[in-house]
Amino acid sequence: MRPEDATLSLLKELIELPGLSGYEGPVQRRMHAEWEPLSDEIRVGRIGSLYARKRGSGQEPRKSVMLAAHMDAIGMMVSELVEGFIRVAPIGGLDPRVLPGQPVIVHGRRELPGIVVQPPDHNLPDDLSRKPIPLKYLLVDVGLPDPARLVRIGDLISFAQPPIELGEDVLSGHSLDNRASLVAITECLRELGQRDHEWDVLAVATVQEEETFAGAYAAGFELKPSIAIAVDVTFARGPGLPEHKTFKFGKGPANGWGPNIHPGIYSAIEEAAKRVEIPLTREVLPVHSGTDAFPLQIAGEGIPTGLISIPLKYMHTPVEVVSIKDVQRTGRLLAEVVAGLAADFMDTLTWD
């Protein structure tokens, strides 16, 4: 199998798994199987994040670098059953305008295929005529006369859009945010299996990023890594989007810069990218990065934190699009960063 095929097939497998915020079990189990042979210790944290440690070759006590990607995805939850229809609450940041007509799976007593439907105008408040319909008025129809036997309040609703390969290097589907980054960390662990690294690596798949950031707060507090790198997706360039907040699609990852980011970690990532000739763009994040880097930086006594992001189109829609090459580049870049961490790196790390 070509390496691209391995990357693609793992990613396709991951995005077909549900794993909404707070209910990451299916992804966590799949990642456990994937990371167990690539690490020395693996366990699940108290609220469900996955922690895998790959030991370094340096002398004890060794420094450690955390690579964290969130495994939860956005979706919906049953909030009420009305005359055979389902009302929903959002999980994560959803734009209700993309929902009408979307196929979903309602995870009731059985998995029920359903459709998000927009009621006709005369069933809606007058002032909504021809306007986007807010989530509270949308319904899910599972095509059964009495779904109450099979569905209860609190059941999850995930997107059912299957993965679509668009040409050689491009995959479309839901939940690529942030399963693409889990694959990148996996690629990094694979590469590190072949090369020496002094530091311990903590591969972490966090929970609840889209809702509470609880997974990263907890992981940072519990594992106390010397430094951390959050791996997430960012916006790929497209029509109507501001140029400075978006990145060329398929042209390499972005390196976060701003108050959430330690400049020394930023530089270490930049230098590693130069060594392996991976194109890398600075991503300016003036306040809140909106990623696990935000909680990791202030966990416990604080963690010097960096952020690598993979450009992704159509974020938080069921047809996100990512470049497989960028996922692989991110994995390689992470491995180079880790392998480049010398025993005395912390002594050279300053904010000035």
Partner: protein, 361 residues
């Protein structure tokens, strides 16, 4: 004021210079290096321990003589609100976003300093002749503003400035008799006060001075500083808006927040903290006993580093004391020398007499 206070009522030349240098430094949230260097130079000779932590907080310990009674954390934030350059436009203009609470109406027509080297620039505005009546009723959108650094080509600007660099109002410090005029008095005033307090060790008190980062974007530095320092008690030293101006209709101003010349503003409650009642009593009693003027800052919104500190670990008894200043978060703020000096005196006196009984609720 007790005669035995070691704190001079008039500021020394050294402390005025320190305050000048601090307010003229460029240090938006996340880029506090220049401020940290100024502070470090002043306090390093005074410190028993000094270090910069994972986020850039400067943590300085000074132990007073005798058996330790209390570990007191005093926090003052080094960062200021400002701008971050995010991209370079086609004509060489610098596009920016705001970092911290800055009113867009304060930006057009102001000179700025960009980066540590204080590269000069101006935020231009449309000639009034070319605006429409409707436009003049709207606030200019930040997205349509740019900083002009005197170049007209994108490449030329890119040679001078990298996106991600901070910019602040270009305002020089001035003292006009009893009045101070500067940018970033919030909270370089607190920083200067904390640096000065380190000069006066107090018997039985371990002073944990935290010069914090990223206060203006969510009290982020103070949280990890408090987690690390584990103090018995904490006081945030900040600068609070004095809105003691007349109202448009001549009615009584009931929302002044704090007033210039009325002394240090002691907090009962703000948007992030309900002050520890024992500490509130202690500060008020100290001020009244020592004859230091004080005011209770009007309860309301806003927040200081105490908001993060008091929720750290099992909870840390905390309060805030601020120097009132008009027009903070704009190009030019105004404070009184007397409020500055009385704040130093109050905090020093409060620490000198503080015992565990002040921590009873």
């Amino acid at each position: 004021m007790g005669l035995d206070s070691p704190i001079p009522a008039r500021p020394s030349a050294t402390h005025l210079r320190l305050l000048r240098n601090l307010t003229e430094a460029v240090g938006i949230s996340g880029s506090e290096a220049q401020v940290r260097e100024i502070v470090r130079a002043h306090v390093e000779p005074l410190a028993d321990e000094i270090r910069t932590d994972a986020m850039g907080n400067l943590l300085v310990i000074r132990k007073g003589p005798g058996r330790r009674r209390l570990r007191v954390m005093l926090a003052a934030h080094m960062d200021e609100v400002g701008l971050m350059v995010v991209s370079v436009g086609s004509e060489g203009e610098l596009k920016f976003e705001r970092v911290g609470g800055l009113d867009a109406r304060q930006l057009v027509g102001k000179p700025v300093w960009i980066g540590k080297d204080r590269l000069p620039g101006v935020i231009g505005g449309k000639p009034v002749h070319l605006t429409t009546r409707e436009e003049r009723k709207q606030t200019t959108k930040v997205e349509s503003m740019g900083i002009d650094i005197g170049v007209s080509k994108k490449e030329a600007a890119e040679g001078k400035i990298t996106p991600g660099t901070g910019a602040v109002f270009a305002t020089s410090f001035r003292r006009i008799r009893g009045t101070l005029r500067a940018k970033a008095l919030d909270d370089r005033m607190g920083v200067a006060i904390l640096a000065e307090l380190l000069e006066h060790p107090i018997e039985g008190i371990e002073l944990q001075a935290a010069f914090t980062v990223q206060e203006e974007i969510g009290l982020r530095g103070a949280q990890i500083a408090a987690h690390t320092l584990k103090p018995d008690v904490a006081i945030a030293l900040d600068c609070t808006p004095a809105r003691d101006l007349p109202t448009w209709d001549g009615e009584e101003n009931t929302q002044y927040n704090a007033r210039l010349g009325h002394g240090p503003a002691i907090y009962a409650a703000d948007g992030r903290t309900l002050a520890h009642p024992g500490l509130l009593r202690h500060l008020v009693d100290t001020a009244e006993t020592a004859g230091i003027p004080y005011q209770i800052r009007q309860p309301g919104g806003g927040g200081t580093d105490a908001g993060a500190i008091h929720l750290t670990r099992e909870g840390i008894p905390s309060i805030s004391v601020s120097v009132p200043a008009r027009y903070i978060h704009t190009a030019c703020s105004i404070a009184y020398v007397s409020d500055w000096r009385n704040t130093v005196r109050l905090v020093h006196a409060a620490m000198s007499t503080m015992t565990r009984s002040a921590l009873r609720r």
